[in-house]
Every structure is written in structure tokens, then in C-alpha cells.
Symmetry: C2
Subunit: 417 residues, 2 copies
């Protein structure tokens, strides 16, 4: 295949053949190669793909003829989705492709995006979709850096509007692939940190101090996707230390908020043997989007409308107690050092004297449940500070530095692309 870059082009060739041909020509006109992958299940493809639907299915050990005989459309779609995901991972591993461009309506976007989500952050990937403007992009991008191009018009034929959108999509993937890999720098020790705007004062001061010492800090925005992205990142690339300034995703999971990172949040670092410095940052609330996304059972609770797409709810003492206990259970399973540091004067910008979420009794319930259930060997420190006091960030800084001196390296030094 020479040394020309190659872009995988994915779509249902039976319904979107004309558009895929347009993309193929636009990309090849810019001197790159394409690899057309057909994930159609209905009619015959109008031109021969490089990888046929039969080959995609075989990647998952399936035969198209069997699936069609079965007559279960759902099963066929699921098989194609799995086959594509496996195929893309293999092509990436074997360095056969340098980027991926997929197009789809509702069904095609769902199939292709699962495959795209299996490729690492930094690997160029773009989805042209009819659906994102209505249904949102969350389901399609997951925790990944998938660029989403809304199609504006339906992807139903070439015309002046769809051509503009497709031409730009081809340009974008070519530009990303030609952008090349970022020059490798010195490998700085890496700190992964969870944070929200409500603990930014703490997080940014801590980050600045660590960076001044030559450390690298990656910050994850703890709104569900962020926590999941952090823990996938730990699995793929590791880190020296994890700092938790935003544990709200645990309360969101327990009480039905809209920023859940699933049942295993705060378990991954410990299971990988990565040391953790943990605070109850943002433990005082859970997250909803617009006010109408707050379930009826919570309408009478203490709510704070931060912006039109962010409504937060104060957790009460008995809920805080469960968050604390849950945190302890998770941390008790860690295979590496854990240090818990509690700011007794409040856990978020809103949770301080005079703040909208100030409730020392509820905070106390969490603290007692957390500290009372931690196993031996986990170090604990309680300090008469608010989480956003500069002294608290400095205390975390000292703790991270101490942990780095004690611990062996857990940073895998890999690169995503």
C-alpha cells in the first residue's frame, strides 16, 4: 500500500452508496488512499467495497446467509456492529488505517459509532450523522474524541447541500490524518484528576503547582462521561497518582442523577495498583440538566440552577451517609496506597457557610460513614479548611509529591496513536 495515508470509509453501501463514492473520490483527489467498508444489510452494493459486509460479519464469526435466514433484523444489526468493532481494532493494530470516516442515519450512526468508540483517543475519527441534532451526540461519542458532523439535510442523495457537508467531512478527516502525530516530548510523570467547576479553585492551584515541578496533569470533568473517560485512560495509559476532587458521580449513580459514571467509578485506580489521593469534593450534590430533567420525586428538594443545562441537587444526610459508605467500600479494595483528606468546612463552592448547599450535618454524615468504614492501612486526614481554600490545595500538593516519592511508576508511557 506504499506510504500514502489510508482512511477507512464506513457506511451502508445499499442506501448511501452515492455518498460514499463522493467521499472516496474527494479523499483520493487529495492524494490519500481509502478503504471502503460496507455495513449494509439490505440491497446489493452499487460498487464493490474493499471490505464486504460478509467479511465484516466474519470478523465476529458470523455468516450473512445465516443471519438473513434467521430473519431477525436486530440480530443482524448487532452482528454487524460487533464485526465492525473487531475489524477496526484489527486494522488499527496492524497499522492498516490512519483515520476513519463513517456516515449514517439513525441505524448506521449507531452501528458505526460503536466501532469508532473502540479506537484510542487521538486516532482521527469522524461521523457524519443525520441524528445528532435531534437525539444528541452523547450516545454516539461515548467517552471518545469522535468528531460529529451534523448532516443538516437527510443523507439521501447528492445535492448542493449534502455535497458541501460531505466535502467538508472529507476535508476534515484528511486534515486530521495529515496533521500527524504530536512530537513526543519528555515523559513527565502523569497525574489524573477529577474536577468540576465547583472545585476549580482547588484543582487549578494544585495543577499549577504540580506542573511547575515538571509533572503533567490531565483533568477530567466529572459529569459521568468524564469519570468513565478517566478510568478508561487509566486502563490504557496509566498514571502515577489519581487525585479525586469530584466524587459526585458516585451519588449520581446511587440516586439517579444524570452524571453517573456507572457502578465501578473509583474502583479502577485501586484495582490497577495506582495510588490515590481522595477528597469528598463535590460529594454534596448530584447533577441534572435543565430543570425539567429533575424527577418528580426530587422537585421539592434543595435545587440550584447553575445554568440552563445544569441543575444540581443537594444530597441529604442519609444519602450522604450512603455515599460515604460506598466510597469506603471501593477504596478498601485498592491494591495501592490511598490517602483520604477531608476539608471539614465544605466540599464544593456551594457547600460553605452562606452557600446554597451549606449543610454541615449532611457533610458530617458522609465523613462519619467514610472514615468509620475505611480499613486499616488507609491514611486519613481531617482539616479545618474549605476545599477551595488555597491551603487545602497546598496540602494536596504535598500529599501527591509524597506519594510520588514513595510509589513505583504506574505510567505506561504509551501513546494513543
Amino acid at each position: 500500500m506504499g506510504d500514502r495515508k489510508r482512511i477507512a470509509l464506513i457506511g451502508t453501501l445499499d442506501t448511501k452508496g452515492e455518498e460514499l463514492r463522493f467521499l472516496k473520490e474527494a479523499i483520493e483527489a487529495r492524494g490519500l488512499q481509502t478503504l471502503v467498508i460496507d455495513i449494509g444489510l439490505l440491497g446489493p452494493p452499487p460498487f464493490r467495497p474493499d471490505i464486504s459486509r460478509q467479511e465484516v460479519l466474519r470478523e465476529a464469526g458470523l455468516e450473512l446467509a445465516d443471519l438473513l435466514r434467521g430473519g431477525d433484523e436486530g440480530e443482524a444489526i448487532e452482528g454487524m456492529t460487533q464485526g465492525l468493532a473487531l475489524l477496526l481494532q484489527r486494522l488499527h493494530r496492524q497499522r492498516e488505517i490512519d483515520g476513519v470516516l463513517a456516515i449514517g442515519g439513525g441505524q448506521g450512526s449507531a452501528m458505526a459509532s460503536r466501532g469508532l468508540q473502540g479506537l484510542p483517543v487521538g486516532f482521527p475519527k469522524l461521523l457524519v450523522s443525520t441524528k445528532v441534532a435531534q437525539a444528541g451526540a452523547g450516545a454516539y461519542v461515548g467517552t471518545r474524541d469522535i468528531l460529529i458532523a451534523p448532516s443538516v439535510a437527510d443523507i439521501a442523495g447528492l445535492n448542493r447541500l449534502t455535497k458541501r457537508v460531505l466535502q467538508n467531512a472529507a476535508g476534515a478527516i484528511v486534515g486530521m490524518v495529515q496533521g500527524g502525530v504530536i512530537a513526543e516530548e519528555e515523559d513527565h510523570p502523569l497525574i489524573a484528576m477529577s474536577m468540576l467547576g465547583t472545585t476549580t479553585a482547588c484543582g487549578l492551584r494544585l495543577k499549577d503547582r504540580l506542573e511547575a515541578d515538571g509533572l503533567e496533569v490531565v483533568v477530567f470533568h466529572a459529569l459521568g462521561v468524564g469519570g468513565r473517560a478517566m478510568e478508561e485512560f487509566l486502563q490504557e495509559e496509566g498514571a502515577e497518582v489519581v487525585v479525586e476532587l469530584a466524587v459526585n458521580e458516585i451519588g449520581n449513580y446511587l440516586f439517579g442523577g444524570l452524571a453517573s459514571a456507572g457502578p465501578h467509578r473509583m474502583e479502577v485506580a485501586g484495582s490497577l495498583g495506582i495510588p490515590q489521593v481522595v477528597t469528598p469534593g463535590n460529594a454534596d450534590f448530584i447533577n441534572f440538566l435543565s430543570p425539567d430533567t429533575v424527577p418528580p420525586r426530587y422537585r421539592e428538594r434543595r435545587l440550584h440552577r447553575h445554568n440552563p443545562q445544569a441543575t444540581c441537587m443537594r444530597l441529604e444526610a442519609q444519602e450522604m451517609e450512603l455515599v460515604g459508605r460506598t466510597m469506603a467500600e471501593k477504596l478498601n479494595r485498592a491494591r495501592a496506597p490511598v490517602k483520604v483528606i477531608v476539608p471539614l468546612k465544605g466540599f464544593s463552592i456551594w457547600d460553605r457557610e452562606g452557600g446554597v448547599f451549606y449543610d454541615p450535618k449532611a457533610d458530617r454524615a458522609l465523613i462519619e460513614a467514610l472514615l468509620g468504614n475505611l480499613r486499616e492501612g488507609i491514611e486519613v486526614m481531617e482539616v479545618e479548611l474549605h476545599i477551595n481554600d488555597p491551603e487545602f490545595a497546598d496540602l494536596l500538593y504535598a500529599e501527591v509529591k509524597r506519594t510520588l516519592e514513595l510509589a513505583p511508576s504506574h505510567h505506561k508511557k504509551t501513546r494513543g496513536r
Copy 2:
């Protein structure tokens, strides 16, 4: 500025200065120019932008000092949003920029995306955002082809993860801008068409026949954004004829479905003097997303779960009656010929004998309200066919052709970029 392409770079320089500098360098390293626009409102910018926050505000006739003195953060944000939108439109009109790249968290994404939405389809525009994976992309892209890049990690400093994402964003905008304008083709007469999957059989047959005659057909997916995009397209670029195969957005507006295109759907073509061929296609239902998005008052109604993100609800006779009357009121105001063609055997794939939404009594309520309220001069045809019968598409085809022969051209022959 020579003939090198220039990309506007937008963000809050006080909080995202480091990232904007990285993007500026990545773009300039590829031989393009940048124009850094600061929309920050808090701290001082770490480097001098090409267009300062003061200049952005002045575009909207505002002074930063006044806004800061007022102390109303919302007002300052709204002013900056307006100023940016006006600035971008002026820069685009004066051909000062060839593409736009913006980065933002929640607030920055909201401000920048309003500006991006004011630029035409086809003009390269990309937003790197921390928010889309949680809150969805719909609010940010609107009816436009804004590429969305999820940031994965928080945009809070440069590190190996954010660098990969930003490097790809720079590559994508460079690639789009370098992709250039699509070669102008012969100006085919243009047909704009609304459609959904449930009337695809009709729409695609009609489209194929029209295209075989050298006409160009742009299809819009009538899920709210689609109808709005079609009507903006009519305003900006016109069309020879509008064909309505999906009027479900009217019912969605009236009865609280999730595919409303606002109160003015089906009024734009008529007000612009563009002839219309109208069917009650998909008038039989309104749209929701996942089943839990169906409001409690509708839970006991006739629902059809089309896929995990598409739940449709059959409208009942009295609702259909209101849809029909509303259509008539809108069409009565048209300043150009309107032809209404009614398929008596059903309006969508589900609305036929044996189908999940079959209900001839409800259909009859719409037909009587529609036809009974149309003013003189609007031609009407009722046919004993289902909307997806090939003969029905052929009948529409004949009607579009006849309309084209009668009417003067309403196609503006402009290009979006």
C-alpha cells in the same frame, strides 16, 4: 493578508489561553493564518488577541466597562454572544475568514455556537467542547453543519490527552478550509422535500424520477431540526418547488412532541412565493425519543417503539382535526400555487390496513378539516392510494413537473461559501 487562508480562532482567552495558543501554532505550522478572537470576560488575556473582547462587544454597540460596572454576568455573556455573532457575519461577508474554530466549556460553547450558527452551511466551522457528551449537541449545532469535537478531558491545560484532541481539531479545520469550494455545476432546478423513513418509499421514487429529468432534490429529515433547516434553506437559497411528505412537525408543535419545528412550519415557502405540493405524509403521528421521554399524559396512548431513540405516538381523531385545520390556515396564506394531494389509504408506513397506526376515522378527521378549510384557488386531489404506493409517487412527480412548467423560477442560484 496575502492569499493565504485564514481561520478565526475563538475562545475565552483568560481561561483557555494556553489551548488557543497551541491551536494557533498548529494551524500556522501548516501555512495558514489565524485571527484570534477573545470572548473572555474575567481575567486578563495571557497574549494579545487579534480582536479583543472590547472590540467584540463594540460590534454589538456595547462597552465592556459598562457591563462590568453593571455586574450582571448574564447580561455580559449575552452581549458577548451577540457581538461575536455580528462580528463573524461581518468577517464572513467581507471575506476576511475562510473557516472558524472555537473551543469552550459549557458557557464558552454556548456563546461561540450562537456565532457559528449564523454562518452558512458549507462554511467550515468546528467547535471543541467539553459539554456535548453529557448535554447533547443539538443546542450547539442547531440547524447548521457545525462539526463538534468532544474534548474527552476537561479543557483545563495542555497535556497528552488535550494535545491530541486539539491537534486533531486544528487538522480538521485546516483540512476543511483547504478542501476548497466544490466545483460549480450547471444550475439544476431545485426541489426541496420533507420526508421521514416512514414515507421513504414515496420520497425516493419521486426523487429518482425528478433527478432522471435533471432536477436536483434536497431531502430534509422532518424531526424538528430538519423542518427548520429546510425553511432556512428556502430563505437563503430558494427552490423551485417544495414537496411536503412529512408534516408531522406540525402535530409535534401542537401536542408537545419532540420533533417540533416551531410555530411557523409550512409558512415560509408560501410567504416567499414558492409553489408547494403538499400531502398529509406522516401526519398520523408525533415523535418522542426513548420511551421515558413520552409524557405521563400520553403513556396509555397508541405508541410504537421504532428504535431505542424513536418512539412515535398515533394522533387521535380530534388531534388530527386540529392538524388539518392548522395546515389549511397556513396554506391559505401562501402567495404562490399550492396543490394538496391526499392518499386516502394512509399517510405513513404504519398507517395502512394491518399497520400499527391504522385508523381511517382519525385520518378522515384530518382530511375533512384540511379540505373543508382551504380557501378557493388551492387545488385538491384525493386518490384511493396509500402514500407509499408507487402510483402515488408518480402522481406527485407529474404534479411537480406541471408546477415547474407553470411557475417562474424561485431559486436564488447562490452558493453558501
